[in-house]
Symmetry: C2
Subunit: 320 residues, 2 copies
């Protein structure tokens, strides 16, 4: 039996996180509304500390620890936003963070995690090597592992963005978030259904990394698909807890193609004036691909993050 969080876990997380996280704004745009024929409310987690929703889950996990446990430090593996989030949250708690990162991760990611105050441990770029290095550091330090998504407190923390959204914009018909390991989407589901059992919850996934879509369709976790997507934040496979929560809640996953994702990313930059990363553009891309279903609906969109290398963009600007 795995421990699953519920909507009360999200509310508890919200109380814990209130003094720690940025209450991010919700923005709208009439041009995007007109394009989709619906009313879109964007919850700006790209403006969260560390530039992504991940700070919520990391803080909830780390601030829930007792002092003695926390003092032994936090261990995780991630070359992405979770690594930075754990580093920042551990620093906020005043305890050490050890982040295991594959040797081939982009230098900019390593710099970001180090800047956030963590000790970076490089390992070979295989899952086995990452797990082994994590186990070694856990044994060495007696620290606590904070998994990027398959963790009840991480899931509950991610759900707090949706609680805030539904406080600021009551009565939404639907809420949509990207899905990878499923921490954000399962937290979103618990939060949204806790407020309104009839609300539609949608996941958005790249068609070329559609393991969550397939897992929910087949009723079993598919963990052997090779993702092939520009969305560097959406290459993990759905976790056990997320699979259980999303299956039970009958959450529907919408898919988006790579070109549509890049177009949607640019729409966010152009129209919302927000820097978002490719993974964050998948919900709008997926909504546009199924436009006729959303006419007149009021939809909350979780903007997951804005960590993108400004020297490498998925379109081709020239120097001005």
């Amino acid at each position: 039996m795995i421990d699953l969080p519920d909507d009360a876990s999200v509310r508890e997380a919200a109380r814990r996180l209130a003094p720690l996280v940025v209450r991010t704004p919700v923005v709208r745009n009439p041009v995007l509304d007109a394009l989709l024929g619906a009313e879109l409310h964007f919850k700006c987690e790209n403006l969260q500390r560390g530039g992504a929703f991940k700070y919520r889950g990391a803080c909830n996990a780390i601030f829930a620890l007792d002092d003695a446990t926390a003092a032994r430090g936090i261990v995780t593996q991630s070359s992405g936003n979770h690594g930075t989030a754990v580093a920042l949250a551990a620093r906020a708690r005043g305890v050490p963070a050890h982040v295991v990162v594959p040797r081939n991760a982009p230098a900019i990611k390593l710099a970001q995690i180090r800047e956030a105050g963590a000790r970076v441990l490089l390992c070979e770029p295989s899952m086995a090597a990452r797990d082994a290095e994590c186990a070694r550091v856990l044994a060495e330090t007696g620290g606590t592992l904070v998994h990027p998504f398959d963790d009840a407190r991480v899931i509950a923390g991610q759900g707090t963005a949706t609680l805030e959204l539904l406080e600021d914009v009551p009565g939404l018909d639907a809420v949509i978030a990207p899905v990878s390991g499923g921490g954000l989407l399962s937290g979103t589901t618990l939060a949204a259904r806790g407020v309104d059992p009839a609300i539609t919850v949608l996941g958005a996934e790249p068609a070329q990394a559609a393991d969550a879509f397939e897992s929910l369709r087949q009723g079993r976790r598919i963990t052997d698909m090779e993702p092939d997507t520009i969305c560097d934040g959406l290459r993990a496979h759905l976790g056990e807890r997320a699979f259980a929560i999303l299956s039970r809640a009958r959450v529907e996953i919408l898919l988006a193609g790579e070109a549509a994702i890049v177009d949607a990313m640019r729409l966010h930059w152009d129209r919302l004036k927000l820097v978002i990363e490719p993974s964050c553009a998948v919900p709008l891309a997926a909504l546009m691909a199924t436009r006729e279903r959303w006419a007149g609906r009021r939809i909350g969109v979780i903007l997951s993050g804005g960590n993108v290398d400004l020297d490498r963009l998925p379109w081709q600007p020239t120097s001005a």
Copy 2:
């Protein structure tokens, strides 16, 4: 005698604009605070309708008109954010807008103004030709001219961003905004000093378009300087009303070099996850250039706008 707005004009504008404009968020960032050694509060007018603060002034001028006058339409000249703002504000009021634009303006700007619902009138790219075409359209339509900055109601409207900022973040030591024609900076001055007569008000100007700096230093409007700056929104000369207001309030202008402006622009994108235009980066660039003066101070920064061509950036990204 010219009609000058005062702080009561700004408060009146705020009441008029409350149902019309976006109450834009104020954001912070610990990394930028650490870089400057001060506490920065960014008022996100790049998230305003039309992507810039200009919508406030245009709305205040247009919604103050009586119905019969408004119905004859609005006329302005601008190839930039003011043109779009007038078009959007006129559409919100339900009246026609005629925007005179020089023939050599970028196609993307013309498209933006047309998309916002205005009739675009092309003219030769000289100030004389623009004035002549404006006069012709005014005579033809009996419409009302809304000047981009040298207009009491436009100035009062621009000041409302600062009123909101000081409501959300009381007790700031200083507020800073970019200066070109001076509508934003003079409105900012009236608003800020109306709330706190002792608050420091700063303008930020490109060193290579420093007519406001020189005008205030010499005590007379300098209107023959040739701007040579990447900041396409800061190439106008200080207007008469702004000159009077800024002189009387002894507002200090800080300067920033072109390379520092590009660096600061990128910092906003990277750290705040906000798309801003070069003009909007001048305040942070100017603060950084005078860093030692601001240690520990609490400073409000008006982010003026985010309208930038994503196909042409002032740094050289490669396609990802």
